[in-house]
């Protein structure tokens, strides 16, 4: 891989990050002129008290001074303190990070594997029974709002038939350790994980299917068949590796969505992750928290995009050669 190519991509990602930083500041301090005023609206604070709050949250001074202060602070890894809990935003986020990664990461991998397999089965034999069934299923799951699916699953499999817990990360007051704790967490994770997996499968299936459909008429598949290879071998060795590229980049991109993908579903299952934290920040409204979350979620997307570009050049010899 050329060093220039990598440098260019990294530089581009850095530029996007700067844009996000500026945009973030602009949104919260320019569009939303007086965050503290809004927050304490109706609470009858004196002007003096309001001013003290403003100082506390770095909201005094001109917009330019504020911007410089914001940049300096962010560079040092300080995202400010939460309006609600008064704890540093970074601490709040760090605590919410693991549950989300566990939940959405698992669902992403599961849906990816299932979706790709369905897509291969559907795309290889166009308009076959498998194809029609898989395509209809994907169209349906795509049309269902993920949180509503979560509500329905919750109502049936946790309330009506209480096979699964109704929410949370583990049993309240649980003192279990080691394997049994893990089992308890898996039990809690099952329903939200099924919800998200169902919600994501369709996209992978459709992309894999259309990519394989593009490949099916390629000459090199005819050649592979002419050589005397079995149909399944032609598919596995020649068709799928070529059709997989768009799916790989989609998957890598979706890993960038891991942190932000499950906001509403986490809320349904009171899963103590990033989504739950976002919802609480919206209800506050807790602007430093929202600002920090937005920076984190955008940052992870930027990284995922960078990863896709680099991964693509690793996987596709045609890009690599350039």
């Amino acid at each position: 891989m050329r060093a220039r190519f990598v440098a260019g991509k990294v530089f581009g990602a850095f530029g996007t990050l700067v844009f996000v930083l500026v945009f973030n500041f602009f949104l919260f301090r320019v569009v939303n002129d007086d965050p503290t005023g809004k927050l304490f609206r109706g609470r009858n604070l004196s002007q003096d008290q309001l001013d003290r709050r403003r100082r506390e949250f770095n909201l005094d001074g001109s917009k330019f001074e504020q911007f410089i202060a914001y940049l300096k602070q962010t560079m040092r890894g300080n995202l400010g303190d939460s309006f609600l809990s008064r704890r540093p935003v970074t601490t709040e986020i760090r605590e919410a990070l693991w549950p989300t990664i566990a939940l959405v990461g698992t669902s992403t991998i599961l849906s990816m594997l299932i979706g790709i397999m369905l897509g291969i089965a559907a795309g290889w034999r166009r308009r076959s029974g498998t194809d029609v069934a898989a395509t209809s299923f994907s169209m349906f799951t795509y049309s269902v709002p993920d949180f509503w699916l979560g509500m329905v699953l919750l109502a049936f499999f946790a309330v009506k038939w209480p096979w699964f817990p109704t929410g949370g990360f583990e049993d309240a007051g649980s003192t279990a350790t080691g394997f049994s704790a893990l089992l308890d967490q898996a039990h809690h994770m099952a329903l939200p994980c099924i919800t998200l997996t169902l919600a994501y499968i369709g996209e992978y299936m459709i992309v894999m299917r259309s990519s394989l459909l593009d490949t099916v008429n390629e000459d090199f598949l005819q050649l592979a068949r002419a050589k005397g290879l079995r149909d399944v071998v032609v598919r596995r060795r020649h068709a799928v590796p070529n059709a997989l590229l768009p799916v790989v980049s989609l998957s890598a991109l979706n890993f960038g969505y891991v942190l932000s993908g499950a906001i509403a579903v986490e809320a349904i299952y009171s899963w103590p992750g990033i989504g739950q934290a976002t919802l609480e920040a919206i209800r506050g409204p807790d602007f430093p928290m929202l600002q920090g979350l937005f920076l984190l979620l955008s940052g992870s997307m930027i990284l995922a995009n960078l990863a896709v570009d680099l991964l693509y050049s690793l996987l596709d010899p045609r890009v690599r050669g350039r």
């Binding site: 996000v20 945009f23 949104l27 109502a155 809320a267 602007f287 929202l290 600002q291 997307m301």
Partner: protein, 309 residues
């Protein structure tokens, strides 16, 4: 048929010619669309919902939505004759919320899409037609917006703005235009390479004229195909925003119904009549739009037409 030929020969002005061509295109479009049964079914479903949305005041009086007017009603009533979908925790009719909710969902879905496509097409056509630094700047901006994750951006925007339907539409448009912009730009670039654009420029046509008469008519089918496929996304986004409490608090939408149902504890009470209709409404409308959109795309998208034999 003979009718068409007659008008064409008697009044042969450019305008009437264009009109003829458009009419022929519409007839052709409809005859191809009619061949797709699923799409026709989707269209019928959509029309039903649109009639329901427009006729909401006659189907279900607005008073049914207000908690004050419903104070004597039974709460958590299961579906029965006077309350086809039962009542909620405040005694309001769920059916009334469903009927009125379709208004907001469809209205936001359609107007947000129109705004999205308008912004995206304006950026795409400008970037593609003028090229050079205009293109570079606009595409840089588009890339930035493409990278920022969709839902967090919508949430953040909706949080700093006031809660109103207008702002929900605005938020959806601001977050979804980049995809359209890219698509339109690519199409403009292919159209620009064709001879007639050069010829028109050489004949001294102004840029505006070339865009209006040569570029837009050739990009329009793609834009139209994009519209029908973008509506479901707008509807789903509105639903999610409303569910997160970022919608208009005064207007009932399907997403808001779901939010209220969830927060009122409809799930632990097994009050399925409260949360099932709104969700099913979303699924049906989105599915219907997808069916129609797929057919429209297949007919209008030049890339699909050339490729698929």
């Amino acid at each position: 048929m003979s009718d068409v030929v007659k008008t064409q020969t008697t009044t042969f002005s450019p305008r009437s010619f264009r009109w003829q061509r458009r009419r022929a295109a519409t007839v052709d479009f409809w005859s191809r669309f009619r061949g797709d049964r699923l799409a026709l079914f989707g269209l019928a479903v959509l029309l039903t919902f649109i009639v329901m949305a427009i006729g909401a005041p006659w189907i279900s009086p607005k008073e049914g939505l207000s908690a004050v007017d419903s104070i004597d009603n039974p709460t958590w009533a299961t579906p029965r004759f006077d309350y086809p979908f039962g009542t909620d925790n405040l005694g309001r009719s769920v059916a009334a919320q469903f009927v009125w909710g379709s208004r907001v969902s469809l209205w936001v879905g359609l107007s947000a899409t129109v705004l999205t496509i308008a912004i995206g097409s304006a950026v795409g056509v400008t970037a593609g037609f003028f090229g050079r630094w205009t293109d570079a700047t606009l595409m840089r901006l588009t890339d930035w917006f493409l990278v920022i994750p969709f839902l967090p951006l919508a949430i953040v925007l909706a949080s700093v703005l006031d809660r109103s339907l207008r702002n929900v539409v605005l938020v959806i448009a601001i977050t979804s235009w980049p995809g359209t912009a890219r698509l339109v730009r690519a199409q403009v670039l292919t159209v620009k390479q064709r001879l007639f654009v050069d010829r028109a420029r050489a004949l001294g046509a102004s840029r505006f004229h070339v865009i209006r008469r040569h570029i837009l008519p050739n990009v329009a089918p793609l834009i139209l195909a994009n519209v029908t496929l973008a509506v479901p996304i707008s509807i789903l986004t509105e639903t999610t925003l409303a569910f997160l409490g970022l919608g208009d608090p005064k207007r009932p939408s399907w997403g808001k119904t779901l939010e209220e149902a969830f927060n009122a504890g409809a799930i632990s009470r097994n009050a399925w009549w409260y949360y099932l209709p709104a969700g099913a409404g979303i699924v049906i409308v989105v599915l219907a739009f997808t069916l129609v959109g797929r057919a429209v795309e297949e007919i209008l998208d030049p890339r699909l037409r050339e490729g698929g034999l």
